[in-house]
Symmetry: C2
Amino acid sequence: MGAAVVGAVREVDVGRFEADVDPEWTIVGKPNGGYLLAMLGRAAATASAQSDVAAASAHYLRSPDPGPVEIDTEVLRVGRTASQVRVRMAQAGRPCVEALVTTSTFDPDGAPYWDTGAPDPGTVGPGAGERLAPVSPDGRRVAIMDQVELRLDPECSGFRVGEPSGRGELRGWLALPDGMAFDSAGLLYAGDALPPATFEVESAGWVPTLELTVYVRALPAPGPVRVLQRAQLIDGQRVDEACTVWDVTGRLVAQATQLAAIRLG
Amino acid sequence: MGAAVVGAVREVDVGRFEADVDPEWTIVGKPNGGYLLAMLGRAAATASAQSDVAAASAHYLRSPDPGPVEIDTEVLRVGRTASQVRVRMAQAGRPCVEALVTTSTFDPDGAPYWDTGAPDPGTVGPGAGERLAPVSPDGRRVAIMDQVELRLDPECSGFRVGEPSGRGELRGWLALPDGMAFDSAGLLYAGDALPPATFEVESAGWVPTLELTVYVRALPAPGPVRVLQRAQLIDGQRVDEACTVWDVTGRLVAQATQLAAIRLG
């Protein structure tokens, strides 16, 4: 507790890390996939010539239990402006998550050159609206929601009162505990922080992430981030979710996409 | 030449493959990133217990030259319905692309359970409209466009006459040469087959892919596929592009996202 960053890791040897999967950063006892990717991204950036994560892609083999994990990195290429690192998480010798990470260094004075426009302002501002309770629609404990502060736009969180919109879209504001700031590795968590957007389609129990890719586009201004998460298709018991993250000034700071398993169809 | 599939590979030992990067599947002499990922996905699916690619994520280290490449696979986990494989491409011993692949087997009788709706019909049907010429906006040879048949919707291909729409969006129909069919590995190519959507913003020379993730959602019906490619943000000399692929019946068959380098901003 009291860690200054999401998904802290400790370097124990060159390129080797340890971390603790916190039992409080879990959903029905399983650690959040983005939280695990934050650990992997942090290890990769530490092992690399650049200090930030620009792109991270993880494939999930099996969920670790809360407790200690080992993280091994292998630098694949060292570049002047970007490097690539392979990184894997194991628990008691069993591989759990493997990821590829491209690291880079962000220019703190950079600015967007072109974009398709600011996000829809939504109906609630940061800090407004009701905080999501640490309970799943089927009544089980979502401990992580006691850690982070997630406030969903009521227009797209009808699932909370058993009335999903059918649109498969969630929007809200996310803040880390104890004033913890989002750094580039922390944004890997933000890309998977919302409940499944399928809650706004139909309740379906656990929706485990199979693959998660996050692009960090800029370092966010201090404060909460705004998150939009959308599902497009449920087919063959799998669903995609695309997630966009803006900082409190409205700057686009991260984009994520995931493929998850779902017990529908 | 005459290969029945996009990105053919030859198994030379258990889990080891060879392939030839075709000089005709290039853009200004550089092989297309999705074409390379098709080779990696094909090797992974051959090495795995399941025969299709469900999700593939590649980080690009350096572009191979046209000619022979070696592909090594390592199965990370074997599951009943899905397995994970790490796969890397090297040329003369130098690593070029590394990818993680989740394999699975698609149900040929499956059907979508829920989706957010059919694609915008666009202004041209399959086979209609002008075929994209094998030349870049700055006049260099794009050999791959002599292989595949890409017909862009004129509403979003103003770049061809020096009048980009400014929307950063391309739409069109893609067909493989010689009646070659899209299988799951072939769809990895489809996810990166269109020119950069930034051509509809501003011409910027080579836009090399840094990371490419593709989700295959279903096996397509025979025939060309419809592709929509959209950029959202150019910031820090990088651009994202999201790509959606539908088969000729309108079924969503693949989703791709990529982060690329761009000399703008």
